[in-house]
Subunit: 399 residues, 2 copies
């Protein structure tokens, strides 16, 4: 197939899935018009199987409906859907500390304490995205103030994100998780123009430094999920050897977007190279697809999901590989993108009831019938679809 034709076909596949499959599924099944907010635990056919409301899922869905309005023009249904979640979370989601509870019941009674900083990170990008599409200046200003407050609190909490609920004995093990630099990069991208530029640039510099000089080991050609503060490894424990290829690829494309904006060609090339290490380590040469976890020494993993194939891992890999192909023109990245694209679209989508399954066995069989749950919501899949569509559109010079 000629490259232009290939890109065109890909574009229509990604765009069509977003507009005609994924968005309608969540609009139809997840809006809780009775109590507000979203019902995210959805079985294969959209049946609600749990009515609790999780801040991660609420925040991400507010963000997504708002973002779609920014990308494709304000659509009243999407805007109202965003507002449905926003009003619910602002009414019931905040604890006295101003931090967001991890979970509420259907009507908004708090269930789980605000121990998880990512609840606040997702609510922060949710409010930022909504502030860009709010009808009145009053609303826009109000939501932006709230973004600033939440962002400030997040930065204050980064040294001990779990606060009083932290079960780790202080200073007993100095392993640093990749999730903080990753989420800082994501917030930097989504908060542009809302948070002070200089502050954002500082955070970005920190994230790049922590990721590139600690989590990426250039000698071993490997990205580690948890490293010591000086970038060294603790190889005698499982945690120190843990590889999470999907997480690495997600962080890599966030940083590549930033590098693109900074016109840092050297960094783009470096990130593209690291993507290859990650996808090569993560790819299952027997059954295809990308493993959730690997152990650097191929020792046993203590996580049941290690060998499973998850929707978000594949979504993030597609974003990473396509962006690298687009920005570097690399044939290797193109080939990897097409390989992951093929496996992903063959195994995850449900052509009968719509949307994608989230959890496949190593062999690629559906391991859980859910389309949404406590951890799968309206986020990774549509983000991948709108990102890839946009990049493919540019690559194919499509109108």
């Amino acid at each position: 197939m000629e490259e232009k034709e290939l890109i065109q076909k890909l574009y229509y596949k990604y765009h069509n899935a977003l507009i005609n499959d994924v968005i309608p599924f969540w609009q139809k099944h997840s809006l809780d018009t009775e109590y507000g907010g979203y019902l995210t635990c959805l079985d294969f056919d959209g049946t609600v199987f749990d009515t609790d409301k999780f801040a991660w899922m609420q925040g991400r869905q507010i963000f997504m409906f708002s973002k779609l309005c920014s990308l494709y023009g304000v659509n009243e249904a999407w805007q109202q859907a965003a507002k449905l979640g926003l009003d619910f979370m602002l009414s019931y989601g905040k604890a006295a500390s101003g931090d967001f509870y991890f979970a509420l019941n259907r009507s908004g009674t708090p269930l789980v304490q605000p121990y998880n900083i990512f609840s606040d990170c997702f609510m922060c990008i949710a409010l930022a995205a909504y502030s860009r599409i709010a009808d009145s200046k009053l609303e826009r200003d109000y939501y932006r103030q709230e973004v600033l407050r939440i962002y400030q609190r997040i930065q204050e909490r980064t040294a001990n994100p779990k606060g009083i609920w932290n079960k780790q004995v202080p200073d007993s093990r100095n392993l640093q998780a990749m999730s903080m630099p990753m989420i800082q990069a994501m917030m930097a991208i989504e908060l542009e123009g809302i948070i002070d530029d200089a502050l954002i640039e500082n955070r970005i510099d920190e994230s790049i430094d922590v990721f590139m000089n600690r989590h990426v080991d250039k000698k071993l050609k490997c990205v580690f999920e948890r490293v010591c503060a000086d970038g060294s490894h603790q190889f005698d424990i499982m945690e120190g050897r843990l590889l999470n290829p999907g997480h690495a690829l997600e962080t890599l494309w966030f940083l590549m977007l930033i590098a693109e904006k900074r016109q840092d060609k050297a960094l783009i090339e470096e990130l593209a190279e690291i993507m290859l290490w990650s996808i090569e380590r993560g790819w299952d040469t027997t059954y295809g697809g990308i493993f959730y976890y690997r152990d650097y020494h191929n020792r046993p993993l203590d996580k049941f999901e290690s060998d499973m194939k998850l929707w978000w891992v594949h979504a993030e890999a597609l974003c990473a590989l396509l962006l690298a192909w687009k920005l570097t023109g690399s044939k290797k990245h193109k080939e990897w993108f097409l390989k992951v694209d093929q496996w992903t679209w063959q195994h995850f989508p449900d052509s009968q009831h719509g949307e994608w399954y989230g959890y496949l066995s190593r062999q690629g069989e559906v391991a859980s019938s859910l389309k949404g749950g406590k951890w799968k919501g309206f986020f990774h899949l549509p983000r991948m679809l709108y990102s890839c569509s946009a990049w493919l559109k540019e690559m194919g010079e499509l109108v």
Copy 2:
């Protein structure tokens, strides 16, 4: 096969596996003669893949080596192995509160706070078992005092076992877990003669009441893992529909042992009936073996391990079904025991390197090469082997 011959063959299989396979594997690979305590993260060939020390695993292994001395006569190597863990845990394992840390590093530095009451429950039965085989009266008295102290603390903590690390908003959801009545029954069995009889009998009455009148739903013929305080269900959330057949069967045989001792024939018959509900709900009619989790409404489960086949589930099922067969003579329980026995021995043991794999896929393939980890230690398998051996010996009137 004639029944007597069948029982004899079974007895030798169970007894031989305990004495010639499982015990030597842990003696050979897990004793940390350098730092004390046990290394429990063991790969298929016994290679240590993580050096952290988890209180559950340490306590259970101290208990097991001590118990073996009580059952088979004090063997110096077993006694020393028990002492190795005991000294380590008494030196390093206790926080200022007197509760046991959840995890320590190899040399005993505490890593994870004492948030988990089961650490204390396992240390409590560990000390009790060791106090029965200690050489001197001084030691015996000392360890018994410690048992009393820990037991007292456990009872004080039952209303909020996680203490300050509890992330649940107080009184927000009144679901009660089956683990507390289960562990109380286990402690009652193992602490007999050490804790005051009247106190133990009270705890047993409570456990039987909570289990039989709340977790067991006689109308629905089902054992629920989490129920409301009045025994009603919360079916709109996953937690309220959760079934854990292995856990139910474990609790059922603990209570059946107690009913045997109390000569309560009606309770024995009732428990035997409930065992059938549990094994029938848990059995995988497609691939064989017992599922980890089920959903009462067959909705999706949010736990990756739900469809997997785990060693401990099968070990507890074997104990339950054999004890019921022994005490009631029921043909149905005999048939179920033989069916579970066959699947278990075909899939879990590793004839090349010894011991059993712990985690199989739904299809019965080895999903993790580990023989020991953060959650699999020297406990469920040997307990099942010594329990079943003893019962088979009695059933076969073997000498």
